[in-house]
């Protein structure tokens, strides 16, 4: 019981950390990779919430496809834009 809760806690903390990294990473590429990791961790969280269907969908759609789409976009922007994003926030 306790270990499970610890595992859950670990999962939640890493969820938050990856989310934070995805938002704060200077490099856009790294941000997207973090975002994909976030998606995979979300899939795990869904398993823990007794929702295997969502877990599958999250892995396939959330992490997988969204990630690929984002990555492709990054490579599109990348040449001129690496590391500029968050710095422009006003």
């Amino acid at each position: 019981m306790m270990t499970e809760l610890l595992l859950d806690l670990l999962l939640v903390v890493s969820l938050l950390l990856t989310a934070l990294c995805a938002l704060l990473a200077q490099d856009l590429f790294r941000a997207v990779v973090m975002f994909m990791a976030f998606g995979l961790l979300m899939a795990l969280a869904w398993v823990r919430l007794q929702a295997p269907d969502i877990a599958l969908a999250e892995a396939a759609l959330g992490a997988g496809l969204t990630g690929v789409l984002l990555l492709d976009a990054v490579s599109h922007f990348r040449q001129s834009d690496s590391g500029a994003g968050s710095g422009e926030s006003s």
Binding site: P52, D53, A55, L56, A57, A60, L61, G64, L65, V68, L69, D72, A73, S75, H76, Q79, S80, S89, S90
Partner: protein, 231 residues
């Protein structure tokens, strides 16, 4: 200033939301849909409750949701004509990716078929299967496989709306029979749901690949000469 304001707003949101969520968790709900779902399952035509909810009890949501997907696909398609499909930049010469694809694609196709089939009695279903199929398409595109059906034309648009059209036809059949919109005849429910799911899988994949394909390819310096000046 903005930073401060937004942070305060976000913190307030988090605290109040957390507090409310806590109260809600502590109180039982006056209605429990689980029982209703369990009662209605035998009439749903499928064995998996989530599939039953998605494609039978709340099928109207799903119908509109596929509509959203088609709209997104269409809006994307209307943007095309900047990057021709055959743009050289799209072709990759990465042999590793090519090799990977050769092994990976069949696996993904099988996985997609499995997910679709599994949907009626356990986890899985059209969305997951469609997503996997879509991912396969995206990989193929990244690998430089031309995928002729993505050329602008009737085939692409037909693929885009096929699932939606099938769903819609089934929906209106209910009304034509004198029943409610979206009602299935009970003995046919299982089969109809499978048909809808199969068509949806194809369309979902199509929309996703389509949207991926129409995004303008990497811009070259001469496309935006003013860029440097702004920096």
């Amino acid at each position: 200033m903005k930073l401060l304001l937004v942070l305060i707003a976000a913190v307030v949101l988090t605290v109040v939301l957390g507090q409310t969520a806590w109260q809600i968790l502590a109180q039982p709900t006056p209605v429990d849909l689980r029982e209703l779902v369990a009662e209605a399952m035998p009439d749903s035509g499928v064995a998996h409750p989530i599939t039953a909810v998605l494609l039978n009890f709340r099928s109207y949501d799903t119908l509109l949701e596929i509509g959203v997907l088609v709209v997104a696909g269409m809006a994307g398609l209307s943007m095309r004509a900047v990057a021709p499909l055959e743009a050289p930049a799209m072709r990759t010469s990465d042999t590793l990716l090519q090799a990977l694809l050769r092994w990976f694609v069949p696996f993904l196709l099988v996985l997609s078929a499995y997910l679709l089939w599994a949907g009626s009695d356990r986890s899985g279903g059209a969305f997951q299967a469609g997503a996997v199929l879509g991912a396969t398409g995206v990989l193929l595109r990244l690998g430089g496989v031309p995928l002729d059906f993505l050329r602008p034309g009737l085939m692409l648009r037909l693929g885009l709306v096929l699932g939606f059209a099938v769903f819609l036809l089934v929906a209106v059949m209910g009304a034509i029979r004198g029943d409610m919109f979206l009602a299935y005849p009970q003995e046919w429910a299982g089969l109809l749901i499978v048909v809808i799911e199969a068509a949806l899988t194809l369309s979902i994949a199509m929309v996703l690949v389509g949207l991926f394909a129409v995004a303008p390819a990497q811009a070259t310096e001469r496309d935006w000469p003013s860029r440097e000046g702004k920096r």
